[in-house]
Amino acid sequence: MEEKDVYAELSSIRNLMERSTKFISLSGLSGVLAGVYALIGAALAYLLIHNYPGSEPYAFLQDTAVVWKLCMIATIVLILSVLTACWLTMRNARHKQAQVWNPVSKRLLTAMSIPLFTGGFVILIMLAKQEYTWIAAACLIFYGLSLAAASVYTYNEVKWLGVCEVLLGLIALIVPEQGLLLWTLGFSLLHLLYGGIMYYKYDR
């Protein structure tokens, strides 16, 4: 075999190994957009909290209407981010002529769903028990863990994003008063940053 044939074959072997084990259609742009949605949501939440009448700092938490509105904002941000991610990732897959639904993506979703759904239930239980102190921390930590779990099946950057989210979540446990700020940093700033990096690196 000629030398260049050897390199070509090794390159093709490596390519097949990567394509069959890593999900390459993930859209970085969806990360950027998720960051934007989170920023808008956080701004709305901030206005809601700081325009609450009275001088008691956490009085708004006793008002179920306000709590309900905050939950709605968070849920809408979540749904919009997920829908955008799905849509852009599918578009990306078509562009790269890859399948969106293949053994890799199935493994990715399975791995991701355990920490994600656990986190979801933890947050719901906290809301039901009106234990609001740790909600922002829980959001960040469980989201970071699910990203770290998913990263095995896709780009490495996702792992670092997950680690950063967990770190912010831990800080939120130490300083729960800054919950909204840390939540904003985690879901907005980090997504804008990582989404931008991934878009620059992989989507163009």
């Binding site: 030398e3 097949l16 399948q99 293949n102």
Partner: protein, 79 residues
Amino acid sequence: MSVLAVNDSYDFNSLKELLQLTDGNLASHLKALEKESYISVTKSFIGRKPNTQYAATDLGKAAFMRHLQSLENLIKQHK
């Protein structure tokens, strides 16, 4: 073999999409690999649709490693 070396198992249709081969072409390659006992075949049904999973055998993985080794040796020879 590259795909099966890094995945526990892979099904026929996903292999077809990944490798961009026709049914017949892929099937004949898989038959040859099966004949050498390099891969194992597991046929089942998902609902009413047939599903065939392929996995590398220990023999197959060893043969693949030898192949990579010989490629590596060829590169070293040329240096």
